[in-house]
Symmetry: D3
Subunit: 261 residues, 6 copies
Amino acid sequence: MLIKLINPNTTSAMTELMGDTARTVAAAGSDIVLATSRSGAASIEGHYDEALSILGVIDEIARGKPADAYIIGCFGDPGLLAAREITASPVLGVAESAMHAATFVATSFSIITTLERTRIISERLVRSYGMQNHCRSVRATDVPVLELERSSSTADAAILAECEKALIEDRAQAIVLGCAGMSNLVERLQHRLGVPVIDGVAAAVKFAEGIVGMGLRTSKVGDLAYPLPKAYAGKLAEYAPASLKLRNNDEPSALATAIGS
Amino acid sequence: MLIKLINPNTTSAMTELMGDTARTVAAAGSDIVLATSRSGAASIEGHYDEALSILGVIDEIARGKPADAYIIGCFGDPGLLAAREITASPVLGVAESAMHAATFVATSFSIITTLERTRIISERLVRSYGMQNHCRSVRATDVPVLELERSSSTADAAILAECEKALIEDRAQAIVLGCAGMSNLVERLQHRLGVPVIDGVAAAVKFAEGIVGMGLRTSKVGDLAYPLPKAYAGKLAEYAPASLKLRNNDEPSALATAIGS
Amino acid sequence: MLIKLINPNTTSAMTELMGDTARTVAAAGSDIVLATSRSGAASIEGHYDEALSILGVIDEIARGKPADAYIIGCFGDPGLLAAREITASPVLGVAESAMHAATFVATSFSIITTLERTRIISERLVRSYGMQNHCRSVRATDVPVLELERSSSTADAAILAECEKALIEDRAQAIVLGCAGMSNLVERLQHRLGVPVIDGVAAAVKFAEGIVGMGLRTSKVGDLAYPLPKAYAGKLAEYAPASLKLRNNDEPSALATAIGS
Amino acid sequence: MLIKLINPNTTSAMTELMGDTARTVAAAGSDIVLATSRSGAASIEGHYDEALSILGVIDEIARGKPADAYIIGCFGDPGLLAAREITASPVLGVAESAMHAATFVATSFSIITTLERTRIISERLVRSYGMQNHCRSVRATDVPVLELERSSSTADAAILAECEKALIEDRAQAIVLGCAGMSNLVERLQHRLGVPVIDGVAAAVKFAEGIVGMGLRTSKVGDLAYPLPKAYAGKLAEYAPASLKLRNNDEPSALATAIGS
Amino acid sequence: MLIKLINPNTTSAMTELMGDTARTVAAAGSDIVLATSRSGAASIEGHYDEALSILGVIDEIARGKPADAYIIGCFGDPGLLAAREITASPVLGVAESAMHAATFVATSFSIITTLERTRIISERLVRSYGMQNHCRSVRATDVPVLELERSSSTADAAILAECEKALIEDRAQAIVLGCAGMSNLVERLQHRLGVPVIDGVAAAVKFAEGIVGMGLRTSKVGDLAYPLPKAYAGKLAEYAPASLKLRNNDEPSALATAIGS
Amino acid sequence: MLIKLINPNTTSAMTELMGDTARTVAAAGSDIVLATSRSGAASIEGHYDEALSILGVIDEIARGKPADAYIIGCFGDPGLLAAREITASPVLGVAESAMHAATFVATSFSIITTLERTRIISERLVRSYGMQNHCRSVRATDVPVLELERSSSTADAAILAECEKALIEDRAQAIVLGCAGMSNLVERLQHRLGVPVIDGVAAAVKFAEGIVGMGLRTSKVGDLAYPLPKAYAGKLAEYAPASLKLRNNDEPSALATAIGS
């Protein structure tokens, strides 16, 4: 099973960090292919960075050897629904994966994120994924994304301190790490805190294996059907659906054809 | 990895049916052990049947060889939180597993269930799991649970018809099968409907593998901590926590001990 | 009017305490019959204790002289819907009764409960009963249930202190006592706090009288209809619906029969 | 116990109709005093009628012999919170009472109301009272309020027909009558439909008895505290709080005084 | 364009204060006409004051030269829906206007209000207007409404202090002023705080201009249709819809007539 | 006042159509500047088209003469929050503007959109903007976006038919047009339907004038602060915040600086 793990920011060191986590948890038959976005921001710390990261995610899905599943390795799950349109292979976000995983082992969790300004992105995802009753709070650490990769002891201490507050002040029963760049902290934090610490990269790998293993593919009836053929202009002309050479190996049923998209 | 799949009703033919599904999707290293409840109803079709099925679920978790994960194989997820209290190994319900799986491959789904009277049980789970914006409707087929196991063509036709209505009238993009006893219908339905059809047994097996593979165990801080030691009386005397010989191999952290339960 | 007040835990001293409260508020024509569960936990402080308390509740409803109404005397309202299935006489929980009562005399309330680990049980009931906009918070006192019955001054002080915090920090306008074992504290707390203090046992008695006085009985159309006849196995064989000798004195209307359950 | 039942519209025939219902269900020691509003609309069928009915409700609470409880006999519960400010005696609305009562005997209900234009008033109350998960729908019959009082067979047939649709199409398990003027239909409808039919007048009487019987009075800490003393001008000068001679027999606690309003 | 700004309290100095704000922001062609309620409370600080302020609002809309739009100048938006029934000209509340405006320039806001007891009125409006995910908190300052008009430095300091807490403790990104009497503080606060400070009077004037400029008028199909003709009694006899001489210059479409109200 | 109206799709005929609407409603002093996206899809009919339209929106805001306000002229409001980050001038979406406008003149509305597959985009916006209680339904017409511009009579008839269904079946009291390309239909539809018909382009123009007229600018504290300076790579290198020459004419307050972003 080929799982392509896409880092939507352009910092390859962070891709490697995520890759280490992914390979650690991957099943025997899972082949993890790493991809670092070729365009956009070095780190994603706001709506603007996130919006501009989608192009790189699309590029990695539309080009190269098709994968059995794709993982978007940024806690904002940028471009998740757009990505699901252009392939029938399952696409998983690390934020959704982490939150779903948390509900299996705890009745509540808190999310520990990086900068204050990214907090609202997580809060919106919490609502979008129906996690309002499970998520006690989103806590910012004021640690910039790229400092995580440097693994400074100051960053680590700030994250640990915020996790402890989450357990004591929010009465959270688990911690969700709110940045793919924190995935190397799981073991240490879990040991110190004594509660489940959930990293979205690991969760996405395991859930991708699970979804593929169940034989599930993205629904092509409704809003996730392949994009309609149409002209694309200017510097995005090459993104016209026809240019993407979308591969649809699934024979649609008569009913699905009738309902269409 | 040992995964114990517990059928909360007492009909072993249904356990076998679920077991077939489970083994079909299980990973190479996963060992699926089947258990049929030894007490309670032959089928679970209401709050009463469900409430009385919890004892059998507890029995199967508290006795025998400890498993790495447990699956409660009834779409009402009976006793899920109680079960999570008495073991640190992950416990997954098939309803929660199916709904979470559906959100990875579709923006909306409908649940096809058995009798009209069980519909409200599913509706309550939908809210409990935060799936209100994903679940378009719960549809009853008036097929009794045990008729599923007989796999009558009438039952199959009724289920197919209701699935079609879900796609057309609800504009659902995926189908969640609302009874563990329907797990053998996945392939046929998926072929006919052309959309993802999600069975909770398969989903729970794959997610159990995933949760265990991530190294996650149920949080023992808060409401899912082991039951407090206390006297149990009468015919349930043997269920006193001390009698359960709860195995806690996890060394609690100093913080977790301080927070306690 | 015969009202059977069932204590789902096995501690008869607590039943007596509730009985005192019940008899104090009961109307002239109301006959309060007390019952202590004959099986299960000495106190209910978690999902596990609660799940195993349902059997005792069922026993008390299914056996003995039929009552005009039943009260489940534990703030988790264990087995409420299952109990409603097996009788047409109204069944009231003390948690639901307390919360509904509070909305008649205040625009907001806080719930004061016992152990931290039971807090989430109350939080789930708040959502289940639609009280999210009325309930400001659920506050734990870390007083174990059975210490309430001992009426230690330490427990009383802890409860009073938490009530005061609820008024000042949450701006609650009323207090809901989150354990049936606190029902003897109402008067003292109300005097000290100067706001309505609502005990679920008293509320359930008065609302039971009200519901019966209106001539209302549990709906037998839909999910609260009598359990379907079916085999029950093992140590629960005697709980098969047929064995319960469910008494349905209500002649169903033609329409209700047509809709069925 | 003196319970004052206030009809917020000026049609005394409707007051009598409600009075009949109230007296039928009232307990032995309950004295029901009827009052018909002396100002405002002959029937309340919209936001405007409702807003102007509040003055009459205030008049009936602020003048005359003080009652132990007040009931606002219109399904819009007009002026409920304002009324609660000017007395410590409990004030109950018939809409809130009916909906709360319904939740004790059914997991879902539909409301049958009069004109289409009043439907949204009920829908807003449903949300305000947290009944979104219990109320399946609000159904209008296009029967004007005053036609109810005439008890025409056409009106009765229209109401019955809509109730039947609620059971079949909404799968409601109980009916809430959405107009105080329908309270004489309970018995007939219940017989025909075979499900609980809940009238708010009866529910409010029984719940008022219950709340008073529990010794509860409206919280005077927070927004329901007595109105602040201040000047009132023009034709409402006589409504200045000082003119109302508000009776506060309750000695406030030191804490309540400190928190104030 | 004639915009009538109605102060629902009877304090004309506050009307003037609002008028200053309104005229400052009004477009060239907008004519702001001020009206002070002729009946009711000198300030609105609770449900009772608010309920009795509606009559004065109705008076100002139903009498005098018809306006192109009406503004209800009190943060509780008293009588908003009733007012919309009696005219097809748009009627805007200052609370709704302020909250809608805030969502255009910030992802979250906090409301700074006057007395603690009015806080719950704002909280209810927040829910009614669907602003739960935008509004971080409602904060009371304990400044009485009429002290605002005196513009004491103590009041100003209290308001500023609470705004600062909103930014720091709630992480609000904008401030909504929760009393029409605060509209003269906008500039000073905005300068001090460095975030958008939104006053409902200014917002309502600009949105009224906008709604009128779009050619929109209140929907007369459904619950906002003109009140049904009927008798009004007692001191409110003159409020009978027929006496209001409601002006409906809009020719209803055939469809609208068919749907009716 | 300079208002830049950006069409996120690349079809200039549609820009002209929107421009006509915008100029019709614009105030005397408002200067409407039109811009057609230079990259991306000819029409936006799905998540993919929408995600790729953001780049063009950014381009139009970041380049050229700065405007006092920007309007994103597509009912999906693509890139709204990203756009708000890169300018302090207000940015308004047509979907949010239309929905907010509708709430001022009706208690409920339905949205009439184009293709079935875009329906879910509107449904998500409804939740994101807190309009769940105002929006009765989103209705697809199966009219492709570009057919609107051709103004075929078939498209018009399909839209009218769906509007009529919304009034009758949903009991909507106003219509929100779910595509900027429908803005030329307002007058005809309003005449035929007899209820408010709201077009987002007109609403956005008037609300932009209003927000600017109130002196409000986007909050630069929190998630809408200017993007953090950082490297951007590949074909998006020129989008690095430093390259955007973001103009911040607002002097931040000391407090705002302290809170930062």
